[in-house]
Symmetry: D2
């Protein structure tokens, strides 16, 4: 077994990074089933069921490709299947993960064009429109946007960006990373006209890491037939062919697929609208707590607040990682670190996945206690503000407006 | 699988009844191992290890008998092994469970003498002394006390009662029920001169229900050789004989014993003094929250506050079970019900077992949110009081006094 | 975790003692679920489901009482609920477990009358008839028979004994121990007019040990109202009362009940007739292998062969336990030991529970390899005989007669 | 849960395809632990431990890169990290998987040169030597060999091929696929001078599929700095950099890594030499059984027999898949299918991973029973031959020669 550093703590660890998230017991137990023959009839029943139902989560009727890989692999798959060496792609600097995707594109031999950003808001539909409108030659082959920037807690307005592309009458493919939004924040692959949606297992899908996804439009599929980037493991064609009968061309991650089946059961039992409303409620409660502590939310645009995580700015002169370390050592809670240029400046609270009101209250309490223990200047009572909000939200769910 | 009534909830259930308690993952996974031959050499290694280390938890060097049975079985075992039909036993009316033990004694043909109580405090050492001092004929064969009344959250002062017995120079056996105190509240079988300690698996030992225990003094063992109550399953003699080599005379509950081994690992890793201090801290935080809500703690004697649970009195005109139902339905938390004469009048918060600060804060938040949702008159802010206490307790652990 | 003596072995242990049996993965995983509130609404759903469906396995429409206890506890419960001190009970010396039950009766203050036996056959209906017919005063209050003697692999003919009792027009209660037959060998509580059926969880029910059962007739229930033996933990009245709503009076072994629910799913999915036919087939294949090795089956009456285990006699001069030790050390298989007067003289092959043809072939191969390694005189080829039988049995299942 | 087609069967499924293999319970339970923060201190302890000990299994002191991907991904990684578009690679047609690796190379833009083969033996060292000796310009950049052809049960002689390369004084990189040999058949990355060893989790490592591996020589690492194939997810540089502190650049498959840690415990406890000897013994017993049935082993060169699987040729006029279907339906055992040009002509028996003598005997019995049920012409008694061999092998392990 893993050596447990915190073995002097009793009780459950609070895994409140913005993913991997707390995996439900039913999902863990599903994964803990004996592996079966991935070419046998029993497997096909599993495969067909998953491949059918996963589409509901993406709000699509089009195929979803499932990889044994982490989310980074699905980023690569989206690009490698549809583009050719030297292709230009439009990307928006929304934060650390957008920059990683850009670097990945560069390593594949693509030429990203980056819309700069301040890491405090989503991608700007107007800037995207302007860039595409300027690109009369249609040299830009794809627009790649991160729906929910896991490093900042700011979302991009995917539907508006779709309209921006359309207004420019630009034929670029539209690719969206939903790694930390899928199954947490409303996302509509078909309705929003996305060509490739990238996702991972370890966030809203409530699984351990190890699976990732491409939801693929007909337009993307057509593009893949002309695309020249070399690819094999990621190639959609063979996978989609084998998927027809419920199989995969290479050995799939069977036990994680058991978990996916159980996670789909849970998500669809709760109902996606309820899942989204739950995340919205917890995010709003968290933001009220942050304001209650007199701390600042990193995301500067209330219309782009993330419902799956909240990044909180540390008061000047205080190190976010020192605070996180106090919280981990004393309270057995993991909070998200600030990434690259945000290192030390923010901590991130994950409030997504298999999560409920009382887990949220434990989480927020951990932050407030930790602020106290780490001597971070703050106003007491953020937890109480969140609590009052939850009472009000439950008492009259419709009457609670999103506060900015 | 069990049908889950609350399947519309995501996240973990908060099992905050005063037992069964939240079972640690490591214990559940240990139980989920293949059953082995209970007469083979591998079993003996398991058996000897458990039988040796379990004594540490009772703070005894004397034998501890382990039954496949719930705690009620261990009550019966304590009496059946040591007493004869018609024997008188002195009991104290500390609450529902004391009364159940009394009824059990009656069903076995014993004659309980009951010291009356108001269910708001522990057994009275003075009354015990007086009764025993009056019993010049030594007709009373045993004094049976519940250490921690699970129905009320009041403890009895076991060491003082020992002194009371001694002051009366009375030879009665001393039997103590520690079902909801063992491994949560400091308890010393040897030092306090207890003859039979009764315990169960599903509270501080952090196991599912299904195992129970008798720690047995030499005096109790001697008494068992004369005792006339019929017994077989409970009989210590054959069990102790088989235990010498690590076995049991009838098939033991092997998988629960796996769990016990894992639970002992966890308890002894944390260290009993740390375990007790943790429970004390959580209990004090809970009481401060209760007072913060302007509600009343059932236990009337601060010196007898329980560190494993707190029973809270409902304001007149409000039904505790209606409140509990709101909490279960809306917040997926189970609180303890009021038992027999306390039905509807109190609810009980379990804060024992595999539990930590953030789980406590989630729990207390659930109570405060529930009070709001159920329209129970209360003062806001109990959660905040508890939180402030935890900050202070962690910041300067020695400076925090037990508030009465 | 348990120290594994055989850690130099890879692969699965073959647990081929006649119980505890190999627990199915689905049952282990069910047990590995978080414990829930035993007084909450979710529990009642579980409780009512189990209490309803368990009756199917006993082939009864009458209540089945479930204890947190091993099978020995259910023996005690059967007697303690229905009899009074000094009552005479008729028992048959079919083997070690019948003798243990007798001793238990004596410890409870009952007066067993024992029909002697040679430990190679079931109870004799004629002898029972004769004894009861002689008992004109109806001093005998109960006839207690072990359906399947786990120590010998001989069954008693329960229906014929019922007729023997009836022919004698004797009012004694009829109690039957089905610990190693229930859910393995056809057994009919109602049709055969049994008053108390005793069973345990760790054999045909495919659970770990820790639960046991009393199926109770109306006549037994009536008797319990007059019976004078002291009892509390075992008392049917309070349990049946609480069971009406799906609960138990003392904390039930919740996690083992989860397992029972999963085991019922599996048993009823397979269908009891299929379960019995499977056990019959494996038992017949085993006996043919034993004869193929030129060894002797302990059970001397083919009409009483057990379908759940086969006890095999060692050639004179060879110690069964030395052989078993070789099998355990070299082949990682546990076989059953010879008990009391059979110690060293027989080994027992369990072929019950969650078991299939290939597990049986592995088991029989382990015996034949072990005979070779331990230099026990035998004829090679028993495994082949069993294999040929299984081919023939599957090819033309109806054409295979039970060979004597 | 997965719908179980074979739900009418009791007992354990026999997963005797040549991978995925039977996952040990301890590995499944390890995987069933809560996911932790992949950037926290506890994770680093896990990561460093695994990265250190996994090298022992490859018999290397050089780095091993671990991917969240199936084995196909590790094939791609080996090529993409070290080669440039248009590079020539020498491959040997040993069977289906060698051909798949060739196709993968083609898809990446490499130019495979294929040494033809009859799918009944390993790669020919002489032919490799001749080809390399002819390649005076050193246009061939890599020699890619499958150590153990999972489709045929023939191994290639990796050490001899190393010598053949050296005799030709050729600088090509040497890449070896050990997907179905690692941790089953002796394999020495360092001693045999392999530059990239490709492996997967779901065979000898006894894990579910979802992890794969590249063991990397200094020469391969140097080559990767010049290689021009685009790569990002597979790129060694960032992974090795992050691995230094026990982390990964993208989210690792944490729960499968828990399993890997447990699998390493088991493998290193048993000891690699014992693991290899066990596989050798089971393979030899299997081949003797096949000959006993008068069937033909596909592998035509005894010096190249695989110790992890045996492919068996069906008698003409009989379809291997029809036979496999009978075995699955009646006996709940999965056997490997014939792949591509072997479809219908062979079935494959996996005897690798977490496996022991009695599981093997169950497996071979399943084959013999199945041959009978499916009316496949064969001689009875192969099982007996295998059994006799195991007795002899255990009785005098050194005296048993490998029979050809």
């Amino acid at each position: 077994m893993t050596t447990r550093l915190n073995s002097h703590f009793a009780g459950r660890h609070f895994l409140q990074i913005p993913g991997p998230t707390n995996v439900p017991d039913r999902v863990l137990r599903a994964i803990d089933q004996p592996t079966i023959d991935h070419r046998g009839p029993e497997f096909a029943v599993l495969g067909l069921d998953i491949l059918d139902r996963i589409r509901t989560v993406f709000q699509t009727t089009q195929p979803v490709v499932i990889y044994a890989a982490s989310g980074t692999g699905a980023w690569e798959a989206a690009l490698a299947n549809t583009l050719s060496p030297g292709d230009r792609v439009l990307m928006a600097e929304t934060g650390h993960f957008a920059m990683l995707w850009k670097r990945l594109a560069e390593r594949l031999g693509l030429v990203p064009e980056l819309l700069p950003g301040d890491w405090r808001r989503g991608a700007d539909p107007e800037a995207i429109h302007a860039t595409l409108a300027d690109d009369r030659a249609h040299a830009i082959k794809a627009v790649c946007i991160v729906h929910n920037e896991t490093s900042t807690g700011a979302t991009s307005r995917i539907a508006e960006i779709r309209k921006a592309i359309d207004r420019a009458s630009h034929p670029a493919l539209y690719m969206v990373d939903t790694i930390s939004s899928l199954a947490s924040i409303d996302y509509r692959h078909d309705e929003w006209g996305v060509d490739v949606t990238v996702a991972g297992s370890q966030k809203g899908l409530m699984l351990p890491p190890g699976l990732s996804f491409n939801a693929v439009s007909a337009k993307a599929l057509a593009a893949s037939r002309q695309a020249k980037l070399p690819r094999s493991y990621w190639a959609w064609d063979e996978i989609l062919e084998a998927n027809r009968k419920g199989y995969w061309p290479s050995t799939p991650a069977t036990n994680l697929l058991y978990g996916l089946q159980a996670a789909l059961d849970q998500l669809l039992d709760e109902g996606l609208p309820n899942v989204f409303a739950r995340h919205d409620r917890h995010a709003e409660a968290t933001r009220r707590a942050v304001r209650g502590w007199n701390l600042e939310i990193l995301c500067a645009n209330p219309a782009e607040y993330s419902s799956s995580l909240t990044a909180v700015m540390m008061p000047p002169g205080h190190d976010a990682d020192a605070f996180r370390s106090v919280v981990l050592q004393h309270l057995d809670m993991s909070l998200g670190t600030g990434l690259s240029k945000l290192a030390g400046k923010v901590f991130r609270i994950g409030h997504l996945g298999d999560f409920n009101d009382l887990m949220l209250m434990g989480t927020l309490s951990g932050v407030e206690i930790g602020l106290g223990l780490a001597n971070v200047p703050h106003r007491r009572g953020g937890v109480q503000v969140a609590l009052d909000y939850l009472v009000a939200a439950r008492a009259a769910p419709k009457a609670i407006d999103r506060a900015a």
